[in-house]
C-alpha cells in the first residue's frame, strides 16, 4: 500500500492504460466460455447453460471442419514456404547492387504496396485477372494460351493468395534483412575475395549466416500469426466457387458465426485455432532456442 501511494501518479497512468488492455484484450477471454455453453442472446454469456464439450464433439464430426483445417494449414504452409523467404531473397539481391540510385528506386517501389489496403490490392488482383479485359489474360494470349476465369477456379486460389501476398509485403519485409546485411563488416568480404571466393560463395558463407538470427526471430513472429494471418486478404479474394480450396477457419467463423448466428459452435472452432496458434509459437521459440543454444528466441 505504501509503495502504491509513493508512486501513485505512475500507478494512475498505468491503470488508465491497462484498463484498455483489460477490456479489449482480456475481455474476449470471458466470451470464449460460450464455446462450452449453448449461447442464447436473451440469457447473455453468463446466463447461458453449460454444455461441456458438445460443440467440440459436433465440430470433429463434420466434414466442414476437416476442409477448413486442411485449407488453413495448406495455405499457411505455402505462405511460409514461399512468402516468408521472399523478402530475404530480395534483400540479398538488393545487397549485391552497387548502383545506389537503382537500389533506392527498387526499394521505394517495392515498399509501396505495403501502404495500400487489402481491399484495393484484392480488387486489383481480381481486375487484372479478369479473362476478358485483364492484363494477365492479354499476356496469356500473347503466348498463345487461352485465358480462363482465374478467380473462379479452385485450383488457382492458393497460388493467387501466395503470389499477391508476396507482391504486397516482400518489399516491406526486406527492410529488416537489408539493414542486417548493411551491418556486416566489409573486411569480411574483402578478405574472402582475396581468398578467391566468388559472389555466390560470399553470399552463402558470409551474408546468409550473418542474417540468420534475424531470420529466426522473424520466423517465430510469423508462426505467432500463423493460422490467423491473411484473413483480410482471403476474405476479399474468396467467392463461393473457391470455398473448396480457399475457405479458412476465420472466413468460415465470420460467415457461419456472425452472419448465421451460430455463436457457440464457431467460438469452439475459433478457440481450437487460437490454441493451435499458441502451441505453434511456443514450439517455434523452443526449437529456435535449442538450435541456437539459447542465443536466439523471443524469450
Amino acid at each position: 500500500m505504501k509503495t502504491i501511494l509513493k508512486h501513485r501518479e505512475l500507478f494512475a497512468l498505468y491503470l488508465f492504460a491497462f484498463a484498455f488492455f483489460l477490456v479489449f484484450k482480456y475481455g474476449p477471454l470471458y466470451g470464449v466460455t460460450i464455446a462450452f455453453k449453448d449461447f442464447r442472446v436473451i440469457d447473455g454469456i453468463w446466463g447461458s447453460p453449460w454444455v461441456g464439450l458438445k460443440h467440440f464433439e459436433a465440430l470433429f464430426q463434420t466434414a466442414d471442419f476437416y476442409r477448413l483445417l486442411r485449407n488453413t494449414l495448406l495455405l499457411n504452409l505455402y505462405l511460409l514456404l514461399f512468402a516468408f523467404p521472399a523478402p530475404i531473397v530480395l534483400a540479398l539481391l538488393l545487397n549485391e547492387i552497387r548502383f545506389r540510385f537503382f537500389q533506392r528506386f527498387v526499394q521505394v517501389t517495392m515498399y509501396l504496396p505495403h501502404f495500400v489496403s487489402w481491399v484495393i490490392m484484392a480488387g486489383l488482383v481480381i481486375y487484372f485477372l479478369s479473362p476478358t479485359t485483364g492484363v494477365v489474360a492479354e499476356i496469356v494470349r500473347w503466348f498463345g494460351g487461352k485465358p480462363v476465369f482465374y478467380m473462379g477456379q479452385k485450383e488457382y486460389f492458393r497460388p493467387i493468395v501466395v503470389v499477391s501476398a508476396i507482391l504486397k509485403d516482400m518489399g516491406w519485409g526486406s527492410i529488416i534483412y537489408f539493414a542486417a546485411l548493411s551491418g556486416i563488416n566489409p573486411e569480411l568480404h574483402e578478405s574472402a575475395t582475396i581468398d578467391g571466393a566468388n559472389r555466390w560463395q560470399r553470399m552463402f558463407h558470409i551474408n546468409i549466416p550473418s542474417i540468420a538470427p534475424t531470420v529466426a526471430i522473424m520466423f517465430i513472429l510469423t508462426l505467432g500469426g500463423f493460422l490467423s494471418a491473411n484473413f483480410e486478404q482471403i476474405i476479399n479474394l474468396l467467392n463461393p466457387v473457391t470455398y473448396e480450396t480457399g475457405d479458412v477457419i476465420d472466413t468460415y467463423v465470420y460467415r457461419v458465426g456472425l452472419q448465421q448466428f451460430q455463436y457457440s459452435y464457431t467460438a469452439a472452432i475459433g478457440l481450437f485455432k487460437s490454441l493451435v496458434g499458441l502451441l505453434l509459437i511456443l514450439g517455434a521459440n523452443f526449437a529456435v532456442r535449442r538450435l541456437s543454444r539459447g542465443e536466439s528466441g523471443l524469450w
Binding site: F20, Y111, L124
Partner: protein, 289 residues
C-alpha cells in the same frame, strides 16, 4: 585485382533484370489504374495494357464524387485516423512511461500482462460478443477504442523511454517535479521520433482498416472509406451510378478505378514522408523490449 569475370557480370546482369522486372510489376498497376480512371467509355473497356489515356476525361471522378457514401466514408475514416491515433498515443505513453522508470515496482509482471495479449487472441466471435455487450456495435467508437491497446506499440515506446538518460529525470525530481510533470516537460519532448513513428503506424493502420467495419458495423452512414470502396470494387455494387442521367455514362471499370485512386490518394501524397519515418521505425521496433 581483376575479379569481374564474365560469369560474375552475367550474375549481376541477371540480378538487375530480376529486380527491374519486379519493380515494373509493382508500379505498372498504379499507372494502369490511373489511366483507366481517366479514360472514356470505349477506351476503358478495351482489354490489354493502359499507359496514357487517349482522350483524358474526369467524368468518372465527377460521377463517383456524387455518391454520398464516398463523402461519409471519408469523414468516418478521418475520424478514426484522428481520434484513433490520439488515443493510441495516449494509452501507449501512459503504459510505457511507468514501466520505463527504475523505481516502479512489479515491472516484470506488469510487462508480462501486456505481452500476453500479443500471443493470444480470443477469436472473432468472443470479440463480437464483447463489442455487443459494451454497446459498441454500430458506433464509430468501435473503430478507435479496441486498437488503443497495442502491446507492440508499448514495447517500442518503452525501449525508447529507457534510452533517455536517468540524470535528466533525477535532476527534475530534485527540483521538485512530480512524475506526471516530468513526463510532460522532459520525457515527451525528447521522445518526438518515437511518437511520430508510432503515430504514423497508427495513421496508416486506420486509413486502411476495414475488418472492424465488416464485423461490427452495418449502418451504411458509419462505413469507413475502405468498406465503401470494397462494396464498389469487390462486391460490384455500382447500382447508384448506372441510374445516373448522363448521355454516355463512364464505364464501370473507370468508376472502380477512380474509387481506387480516391482512396489511395492520401497515402500516395504522404508517401515520401511516410517512407522516411517508417524505415527508421522498423529499426526501433526491431530492438527487443
Amino acid at each position: 585485382m581483376k575479379t569481374a569475370n564474365w560469369q560474375d557480370r552475367l550474375a549481376v546482369g541477371l540480378i538487375y533484370a530480376a529486380l527491374g522486372l519486379l519493380a515494373v510489376i509493382v508500379v505498372y498497376p498504379f499507372i494502369h489504374v490511373l489511366s483507366v480512371s481517366l479514360s472514356d467509355r470505349g477506351e476503358a473497356l478495351r482489354s490489354g495494357f493502359h499507359w496514357i489515356p487517349k482522350q483524358p476525361t474526369v467524368s468518372a471522378y465527377r460521377e463517383i464524387l456524387t455518391y454520398p457514401f464516398i463523402w461519409s466514408g471519408y469523414a468516418n475514416t478521418l475520424f478514426r485516423m484522428a481520434v484513433g491515433t490520439a488515443l493510441t498515443l495516449l494509452v501507449t505513453v501512459c503504459a510505457a512511461y511507468p514501466l520505463s522508470r527504475k523505481e516502479f515496482p512489479w515491472k516484470r509482471v506488469l510487462v508480462l500482462l501486456l505481452l500476453f495479449t500479443m500471443i493470444f487472441d480470443g477469436g472473432i466471435v468472443p470479440n463480437y460478443l464483447l463489442m455487443k455487450e459494451l454497446h459498441l456495435l454500430n458506433t464509430r467508437w468501435v473503430y478507435v477504442l479496441p486498437h488503443a491497446a497495442n502491446a507492440f506499440h508499448v514495447l517500442v515506446m518503452l525501449s525508447f523511454f529507457r534510452s533517455i538518460p536517468d540524470a535528466l529525470i533525477e535532476a527534475a525530481r530534485i527540483d521538485g517535479a512530480r512524475d506526471v510533470r516530468i513526463l510532460t516537460r522532459i520525457v515527451l519532448p525528447l521522445s518526438m521520433p518515437a511518437l511520430v513513428t508510432i503515430g504514423l503506424w497508427s495513421l496508416v493502420f486506420h486509413i486502411n482498416a476495414f475488418m472492424d467495419n465488416l464485423l461490427y458495423v452495418t449502418d451504411q452512414t458509419k462505413f469507413v472509406l475502405q468498406q465503401i470502396v470494397r462494396q464498389i470494387l469487390i462486391e460490384n455494387r455500382l447500382d447508384p451510378f448506372t441510374t445516373a442521367t448522363n448521355t454516355i455514362p463512364p464505364a464501370p471499370e473507370s468508376l472502380k478505378m477512380a474509387a481506387v485512386i480516391i482512396s489511395v490518394f492520401p497515402v500516395l501524397v504522404a508517401y515520401p514522408f511516410l517512407l522516411n519515418y517508417f524505415e527508421k521505425g522498423t529499426m526501433i521496433g526491431s530492438v527487443k523490449g
